[in-house]
């Protein structure tokens, strides 16, 4: 019975049907289905399909947003029950923003949607975000990853400051750093800016975030 319910959750998520996603979440609770399992086997699996469709451009961003909203609405229904289990069902917490001096946030917003869709808890600081604010928010939330985006070379110049400031505060090993954006390359991000990961686009950003979290859970240094 659960398998059928999970399949319906997958389908409703892929279709971006918020009403149906919420109804299925309530149905799962009524039937005593483990809410964590409902998210993992149902909604998250649906979002994986949505992510694949976006990667192939069978879905465009508004379609991804509809699905993400539908899933989030369902998770809101399930969340109180997750909290009782001390299990929030998140892949990890990410503090995200467009770096200081830069107002270009389209790419960052796409990354945010895709990370949320992949099950991460994302705290979006918006655009023109000072480096210190990334660090302060990460500390406040006990985040796993600090992720920053830049569209301009003159604003990307602030990105190395994230690692520098974390090091100065003795916090470098506490956080993973991910960078992306037009002037940022993999080599520059990891060698020059001291980041742990780089995503050329939103799809890659999700892959990198997952990989970094896996490494962390395996007892990596961060």
């Amino acid at each position: 019975m659960n398998m059928n319910l999970f399949e319906q959750m997958v389908e409703a998520t892929v279709e971006g049907d918020e009403e149906r996603c919420v109804a299925l979440a309530q149905q799962a609770l009524d039937q005593g289905v483990d809410p964590f399992q409902a998210i993992q086997e149902g909604y998250s699996r649906g979002m994986l399909i949505v992510g694949d469709k976006f990667a192939r451009l069978e879905y465009y961003l508004p379609g991804v947003m509809l699905s993400a909203n539908a899933m989030n609405a369902a998770v809101q229904v399930l969340k109180p029950h997750l909290l009782q289990r001390h299990d929030r069902g998140s892949r990890g917490t990410i503090v995200l923003g467009t770096i200081q001096g830069d107002i270009h946030d389209l790419g960052k917003n796409i990354v945010k949607i895709m990370l949320q869709a992949a099950g991460f808890t994302v705290h979006d600081l918006g655009y023109d975000v000072p480096v210190r604010q990334f660090v302060e928010k990460a500390e406040e939330l006990e985040a796993d990853i600090i992720a920053a985006s830049a569209m301009l070379a003159t604003t990307a110049a602030y990105m190395p400051d994230i690692a520098t400031i974390l090091s100065e505060l003795g916090l470098r090993d506490k956080y993973l750093i991910m960078l992306g954006g037009t002037p940022v390359t993999a080599e520059w991000a990891t060698v020059e800016a001291g980041a742990d990961g780089y995503g050329e686009n939103a799809v890659e950003a999700v892959q990198v975030a997952k990989r970094l979290m896996q490494e962390k859970s395996r007892g990596g240094e961060k």
């Binding site: 451009l57 465009y60 947003m65 001096g101 107002i103 003159t154 604003t155 037009t182 940022v184």
Partner: protein
């Protein structure tokens, strides 16, 4: 009549709207317009020759703009306009733009579809990062191209050995350094008075930009600046401030639009409509004298995929048939210098744009992100293809067949496009000429392109 300050005043009086809601509205309204006007992308018609389709794309863009308006990020307000206001602004938009002085004067004028007049060729490394010592040589490699009519800047990674950070005193220093070095590159190329269409690409803040636009630094009265809209269909005061300053200084200004296909707008049809709509924003709020379009593929970050070539063709056609605006396509290639792929990508884009009534802004390569990956040779490749399309009288139907042949040379490599060689690997820095390797590679590609029907003997 609608004046500039009437337009900007609406950013303080229009209805309030949350930005996220506006983002979603763009996609929703674009989808509605695609359906209403029956616009369909046909992968076999990369360069469509359907005037009715072009007109429907134009009307869809206008309807979309009238419904959505412009979003002002500083105030969170919508700036809405009537059809009469947009049409009045279009009617009074510039018909020519002049750059340069003396023997380097160049005039950009309206181009029709299949216009036998060669495209206006602006040449630029589009802000490609480069080491400080190679900034002037790299820029010079563009200015010295015989088909270059204006030029602009690379991005020096340091100035006086110091990195440039937005909003810092160093940004002002860097902006001034940039304009001095651009004019130095022009002099070194033997074209001291050629126009610079975008004087500053290393400073975002208005204070730094304005500090640098001084005659004492080599800036000519009709050099200019790029004023960018923000995706999708948004403006912000930091950029509008530059518009105000340039209205008084008299320097040229152009508007820049980069809609993302696959992003908020949606697919190729919707993105083409949004790209058309951007031009109304540019005429009204940015007073762009000409319009630079760089629609990009959301994953590939270039405009040489099949869908993007279609957008780079149909949007200029829509505008050319229905307005006298000066429309330019800024080619973005996935591959980098000294690769066959980059040659074919640039040729495909230049052909599609030129026969569709656009001028050419040449060219960002290696997805415009890899340091040192840019050279004047790529601009030459695009300009030659554009000139040939015009001189040879290539029709849209012929261009479609040509472009499909060219696409077949690289389309399968899009995911793994080579970033190519560094500037100092594909140019001899002593003579500042392309290496024999690069010249031979281009010759081989030209042989193949000749086989497809491009007559390089006409150059």
């Amino acid at each position: 009549m609608i004046g500039f300050w009437d337009v900007i005043g609406r950013s303080e009086s229009g209805p309030l709207l949350r930005e996220e809601k506006f983002d979603l509205q763009v996609g929703r309204v674009a989808r509605q317009m695609v359906e209403k006007y029956g616009i369909r992308y046909d992968p076999q018609q990369v360069v469509p020759a359907d005037d009715d389709l072009a007109d429907r794309v134009y009307q869809a863009g206008l309807d979309l703009f009238l419904e959505l308006g412009i979003y002002c990020r500083d105030t969170g307000r919508l700036m809405k306009f009537t059809r009469d206001e947009v049409e009045w602004a279009l009617k009074h938009a510039p018909t020519t733009v002049t750059y340069g002085q003396g023997r380097d004067v160049a005039v950009m004028t309206y181009r029709a579809i299949e216009d036998p007049k060669p495209p206006f060729c602006l040449m630029t490394p589009v802000g490609t990062p480069v080491a400080e010592e190679r900034f002037v040589p790299m820029v010079q490699s563009y200015v010295q191209e015989p088909l270059a009519q204006t030029f602009s800047s690379a991005f020096s990674q340091t100035v006086h050995g110091r990195p440039i950070k937005s909003g810092t005193p160093q940004e002002v220093e860097a902006a001034i350094w940039n304009v001095i070095k651009l004019r130095e590159a022009a002099r070194a190329a033997g074209r001291p008075q050629i126009g610079i269409h975008n004087l500053i690409s290393n400073a975002e803040r208005t204070d730094a930009t304005l500090a640098a636009i001084q005659a004492d630094f080599g800036v000519q009265p009709n050099d200019g600046l790029c004023i960018a809209a923000t995706a999708e269909l948004k403006i912000d005061y930091e950029r509008v401030k530059k518009v105000v300053a340039l209205r008084h200084s008299g320097h040229n200004k152009y508007a820049l639009y980069g809609p993302l296909m696959g992003g908020y707008a949606g697919g190729p049809e919707a993105t083409a409509i949004v790209l058309v709509a951007y031009h109304f924003l540019g005429v009204l709020a940015l007073e762009g004298q000409w319009h630079c379009c760089f629609p990009l593929h959301i994953h590939h970050l270039c405009n040489t995929t099949r869908e993007l070539l279609w957008i780079c063709s149909i949007a200029p056609q829509a505008l050319s048939r229905n307005t006298h605006l000066l429309v330019t396509i800024n080619t973005f290639a996935a591959a980098g210098p000294c690769t066959e792929m980059v040659v074919y990508e640039i040729v495909a884009n230049a052909l599609a744009a030129t026969v569709s009534g656009a001028d050419l802004d040449l060219v960002a390569v290696a997805r415009n992100r890899h340091p040192e990956r840019a050279s004047g040779m790529e601009a030459r490749i695009g300009a030659e293809a554009g000139h040939l399309a015009a001189r040879q009288g290539v029709t849209r139907e012929q261009a479609n067949e040509l472009v499909k042949e060219v696409l077949a040379q690289y389309e399968a490599q899009m995911d793994d496009a080579p970033i190519g060689k560094r500037f100092d690997e594909c140019y001899d820095l002593e003579t500042l000429q392309p290496t024999q390797e690069y010249l031979h590679l281009y010759e081989r590609c030209k042989e193949k392109l000749s086989g497809f029907g491009l007559d390089y003997s006409l150059l």
